[in-house]
């Protein structure tokens, strides 16, 4: 696989030099796997597409610094995720403000049974897109990016408690959405 690696390094070098064909190649290579990441964070596919494009503009401007140590996919994914979180953070005051007016009864987290859950990717994305922006962002960061509440709190600039309560509300809403559509 080292030939693939050196190929990626060469591709990265060409992208950094502004070679449009190389940039297209890179975009094509990772489009299929990065667009779903953006779909998880955006409320619709149009915004997801924009997030992906924004992220790739950053990728192309930063790719000089890719040293070939980690995987290129992992390196790109980090930029894509950070870009999505940044977008959310910029507007987070609005989002958290909006959500505080929703009246959720603070019931205890119910225990999940052991049955395995099989879901289709499209169901998951659709359900995530139905969540409010703050729930969606926190859920994504905790579950998919495997960040801790402390990390989420720091990254977004909210309290650990807000992160926790947003996660539990996100989970409850997701369950309701999936149940409603009889997918879970």
């Amino acid at each position: 696989m080292s030939s693939e690696k050196s190929e990626f390094i060469e591709l990265a070098r060409l992208c950094a030099s502004g070679d449009r064909k190389a940039q297209e190649r890179l975009y094509r290579l990772f489009y299929g796997r990065m667009l779903p990441v953006c779909l998880r964070y955006a409320k619709d596919s149009e915004l997801a597409k924009d997030l992906l494009q924004d992220a790739f503009i950053k990728v192309f401007s930063k790719i000089k610094s890719y040293d070939g140590v980690g995987s290129l996919e992992g390196w790109i994914r980090r930029i894509v995720v950070n870009n999505a979180i940044d977008e959310f953070r910029k507007k987070k005051n609005d989002f958290f403000l909006m959500e505080s007016i929703e009246n959720f009864s603070e019931t205890e987290e119910e225990e999940d049974d052991d049955k395995e859950v099989k879901l289709k990717a499209s169901q998951v994305i659709e359900a995530l897109q139905e969540l409010t922006p703050a729930y969606r962002a926190v859920f994504n960061m905790f579950v998919f990016e495997e960040m801790t509440h402390a990390e989420i709190a720091e990254k977004v600039g909210i309290s650990v408690g807000t992160s926790k309560s947003n996660l539990s509300k996100a989970k409850r809403n997701l369950k309701n959405i999936l149940l409603r559509d009889q997918r879970f």
């Binding site: 696989m1 030939s3 693939e4 190929e7 449009r20 064909k21 940039q23 297209e24 975009y27 094509r28 290579l29 990772f30 489009y31 299929g32 796997r33 779903p36 998880r40 915004l47 597409k49 924009d50 997030l51 992906l52 494009q53 924004d54 790739f56 503009i57 192309f60 996919e73 870009n83 940044d86 977008e87 910029k90 507007k91 005051n93 609005d94 403000l97 909006m98 007016i101 987290e109 999940d112 049974d113 052991d114 395995e116 859950v117 099989k118 879901l119 289709k120 990717a121 169901q123 998951v124 579950v143 998919f144 495997e146 996660l167 539990s168 989970k171 997701l174 369950k175 999936l178 879970f184």
Partner: protein, 426 residues
């Protein structure tokens, strides 16, 4: 272990583990336009605007002096409590034209407003829960105000800071206003003109970090962000106000939103290579076409004869009398001179070789990628892919691969490309 990480999350995560979406070449075309620095009407993401255009129109910073206020009939506390400036950066990368002149603080721009700085201007369309929430926010901000010290001594400290950060011109204005000031809020009104649909960022500087912000955009839209970014789609005049938790004044600015044209066009190929463009733009006064690399036109409905078939990028930019513009671009596809044929499935260990309908058209090269986009095979001249993986083993039955064909002419220039999928039969 991670708390609350149960089957639902696990199931959701697994479902997306190997999920991939097919490539949409339109998305690349848009991104390419953005990389080229051209604008397109469909490219309105906020982040891109922030990245590319924060610098624009930076000359429009202006000074706002806010005054402490108390019961005006008693006229007790006088003085400047805070100095701030807030600037508006138009975030449109369509129009990179220079600065918008703004009136710096001027006596005429100062007037008294007794009414509450926030609620007015909020339209009825604010939904009730949102409005209640905002009213609560206002009340809490007003509460905070009561405890704030309002002394003249703040003047000096703040004026130093402001001087350091503003141009001399601004400093002069500040000094002029350092005499005891009205016991009423100042309203600074300086109009900023933007085109409908443009992003505008509201920026604050020199405001203490602890201050809380409440923006009213005059169109039933509010924000508590420090530097909100907004788009005004409807032409008209908007009074944008900012109140800070540190003071009771309102900082106000007027945004004049100018009407924007809409660029649209259609095309049809009348005869081989000859294309007629129809301008369907709305509210436009001038059209600028970029039809071929070397052909531009300001005709309303130009005609152009292409010498070669293939995909052509056409851009139409329209402008109205207010200087607002819009662009539309599209790739038009003239009859392809060549087609690639490739099997959609092969048996394990069978050869895979795409071919051209006209073998003399150019030299065909192809690559095979797995569904993660990793390169599996790169063709050598005329040789097929034997269905092998980089480690020499045969690809697994039922696995799927993507192929990418590039056709180059004699001088090595890429003249055609196509892509598709091939499956290994069970």
């Amino acid at each position: 272990m991670r708390e609350n990480f149960n089957n639902l999350e696990k199931g959701m995560k697994e479902s997306l583990n190997d999920f991939e979406l097919p490539f949409d070449s339109k998305h690349w075309e848009e991104l390419e336009m953005r990389l080229e620095g051209k604008s397109a009407s469909s490219l309105s993401t906020m982040a891109a605007a922030v990245v590319t255009a924060l610098i624009l129109m930076s000359g429009i910073t202006y000074v706002l002096v806010t005054a402490a206020i108390n019961d005006s009939t008693q006229g007790i506390s006088k003085g400047i409590e805070d100095r701030s400036n807030f600037s508006l950066n138009a975030l449109d990368y369509n129009d990179m034209s220079g600065e918008i002149p703004l009136v710096l603080l001027d006596d005429n721009d100062v007037s008294v407003d007794e009414s509450h700085p926030f609620i007015e201007g909020a339209d009825k369309d604010v939904n009730n829960s949102n409005k209640d929430n905002l009213i609560a926010e206002v009340q809490s901000i007003v509460q905070e105000n009561k405890t704030l010290p309002k002394t003249v001594s703040v003047i000096e400290k703040h004026s130093v800071e402001v001087k350091n950060q503003l141009e001399e011109k601004s400093t002069e204005k500040i000094e002029k206003n350092e005499a005891p000031i009205n016991t009423a809020p100042f309203i600074i009104s300086s109009a900023v003109e933007i085109c409908a649909g443009e992003k505008i960022e509201f920026k604050t500087e020199n405001i203490s970090e602890a201050a809380r912000f409440l923006w009213n955009f005059g169109n039933a839209d509010f924000s508590t962000e420090t530097n909100p970014v907004r788009t005004f789609n409807e032409p008209g005049e908007y009074n944008v106000t900012l109140i800070l938790s540190k003071s009771t004044e309102k900082i106000e600015s007027k945004i004049i939103v100018l009407p924007k044209p809409e660029a649209k066009f259609a095309w049809n190929e009348r005869s081989k290579g000859q294309v007629k463009f129809s301008n369907l733009s709305e509210k436009a006064d001038a059209s600028y076409w970029q039809i071929d690399d070397e052909f531009t036109s300001t005709d309303i409905n130009p005609t152009f004869e292409y010498s070669k078939a293939g995909k052509k990028l056409v851009t139409l930019k329209v402008e109205n009398g207010f200087g607002c513009s819009d662009s539309s671009f599209r790739y038009i596809k003239l009859d392809e001179p060549v087609e690639v044929s490739a099997p959609s499935a092969i048996a394990q260990a069978e050869n895979f070789l795409p071919s051209l309908s006209d073998p003399n058209y150019g030299q065909l090269m192809f690559t095979i990628h797995n569904m993660k986009g990793q390169l599996i095979y790169e063709s050598e001249e005329g040789k097929p892919w034997k269905g092998t993986m980089p480690d020499g083993t045969y690809a697994a039955p039922d696995s799927e691969f993507a192929w990418l064909v590039l056709v180059k002419n004699n001088s090595g220039k890429e003249i055609y490309s196509d892509s598709g999928k091939v499956k290994i039969l069970p």
